[in-house]
């Protein structure tokens, strides 16, 4: 795997993992070979997650739609207490309320990347954040292909800020909550897979041109006001 391919697979993987957190749609998942694709990606870039990925596949085969729906709702939807709140701000803001400052800050980052949330969920929802990171990785793939090194550096800086400040800090608690909050094998395996997958993502290192890096870093800090 070269650098470009790795990036692309990481992007693909994040996108498919994001898809798993939507309302379960086993037919669609099956038709699009989602679990198999996840397995394949893991085999390429994240062998540690392979076992979890095949567990997901099996679980999906063996769960009824209804089981999946119930488990999904209990974990992420309510109406009762969410077993694993899918919103970053729940974890990042001490007051545990939705639409806190960190939420506004991720919106700024999306905007900066030329994106606007297009589903009816708060902007720090897990599916949105995973997709965003996937998007940044995809753009990096493009920049790498075109050998635009400043663009690459800029995107890496953005990834770094996003991962370090907004996504990674709440993942352990969230994944933990998922594991404690369900007995459904699909979601248990998903939690495991996500955990392992995120572990192999390296946060871009220091070898980035300082001007670009600081520029973006400072931008992210701006949202801290």
């Amino acid at each position: 795997m070269n650098e470009i391919e790795t990036k692309l697979q990481q992007s693909n993987g994040l996108r498919l993992l994001a898809a798993c957190f939507y309302e379960p749609d086993p037919t669609l998942f099956e038709e699009e070979k989602m679990c198999r694709n996840i397995s394949a990606i893991c085999a390429d870039i994240c062998p540690q997650a392979c076992a979890a990925a095949s567990d997901m596949y099996l679980a999906l085969q063996n769960s009824s739609l209804q089981d999946l729906q119930i488990a999904h709702a209990e974990l992420f939807l309510g109406p009762f207490e969410l077993k694993a709140s899918p919103y970053g701000s729940t974890y990042l803001e001490k007051a545990r309320r939705i639409m806190g400052d960190s939420t506004m800050q991720v919106v700024q980052l999306y905007r900066k990347a030329g994106l606007e949330v297009d589903i009816k969920e708060p902007p720090d929802h897990i599916v949105i954040e995973l997709e965003f990171l996937s998007y940044l990785f995809a753009l990096e793939t493009e920049a790498l292909q075109n050998s635009e090194s400043t663009q690459v550096a800029k995107l890496r800086a953005e990834q770094k800020v996003f991962q370090e400040r907004y996504l990674l800090p709440w993942m352990p608690e969230f994944i933990e909550n998922m594991k404690k909050g369900t007995e459904n094998n699909f979601y248990l395996a998903l939690a495991d897979c996500l955990e392992k997958f995120l572990c192999q993502l390296t946060v871009p290192d220091q070898s980035i041109p300082t001007y670009e890096c600081n520029g973006t870093q400072k931008y992210a800090a701006a949202t801290a006001y």
Partner: protein
């Protein structure tokens, strides 16, 4: 001829009410005074002369002069410059490029590194600096409650409405943010986010007296050109050679 935006302030009409400066704060979400920085992109100077009862009192609204010969731009060390002149003659600040060195603040004859007092003592600063590592709006970060469980707090208010500051006016501009981040400077940018959309700078629109007039002085038919032709005008600190584009016409009071 190329555009040169300018502001004419008609002192005869101005009553020193303060609306322009406050309106600017609501438009541009500038912070409260801290660390000797006022964040008043628009402000006022006052002058009392004479002895009672022959006293004269004047107010002079001030803001960035958008100098044609701007020392702040000259001083900015980054390349391309963070403080630069737009083709329309606005002294623009690019947030992303700014490294917070404050060279512009030092170079600008209308700015002070630290403002201790106010316009009553002749002090103000066009350029303000956001301290590194400090939130821009600490007032709305404060979680202190006056009466536990009964009254709100700064951060509660910001959270309840989902913005800091809660009355934040949202706008976009390629060079500057609607709230500026730490470790950069900020100042009046002639509301370019409005001007480029065909609107007037917000202080101009908000002035109840119609004392602030904005336009292109290189366009002879503009209101600013006409006023400058009709009246004698003054600029601040002409001796500095900065060639300001904020002009003052007429006297504040009948008695001069």
């Amino acid at each position: 001829m190329k555009t040169q935006y300018a502001m004419v302030i008609d002192l005869k009409k101005c009553v020193g009410c303060g609306a322009c400066a406050l309106a600017c704060k609501t438009e541009n979400n500038t912070a409260l005074r801290k660390n000797g920085q006022t964040y008043n992109w628009a402000d006022f100077l006052h002058e009392t002369t004479g002895k009672f009862p022959d006293t004269t009192y004047k107010t002079l609204p001030v803001l960035c002069n958008h100098c044609s010969n701007a020392p702040c731009v000259e001083a900015c060390p980054v390349e391309p410059k963070a403080m630069y002149k737009t083709p329309d003659g606005i002294t623009m600040h690019n947030d992303e490029r700014c490294i917070g060195c404050r060279a512009c603040q030092e170079a600008c004859p209308y700015s002070m590194e630290e403002v201790r007092r106010d316009g009553e003592y002749g002090e103000y600063s066009v350029i303000s600096y956001n301290e590194e590592g400090e939130p821009t709006h600490p007032f709305y970060k404060d979680n202190r409650e006056l009466i536990q469980g009964c009254t709100s707090s700064g951060i509660d208010t910001a959270r309840a409405v989902g913005a800091t500051p809660p009355h934040r006016t949202l706008y976009d501009h390629p060079d500057y943010e609607d709230v500026r981040r730490p470790n950069i400077v900020e100042k009046c940018i002639f509301c370019e986010h409005r001007v480029r959309k065909g609107k007037l700078p917000y202080c101009v629109e908000a002035c109840p007296a119609g004392a602030r007039i904005f336009g292109d002085i290189n366009e002879p038919k503009s209101e600013v050109s006409k006023l400058l032709n009709k009246h004698k005008s003054k600029v601040l600190k002409p001796e500095e050679g900065t060639k300001p584009n904020v002009y003052y016409i007429r006297e504040y009071g009948v008695k001069g």
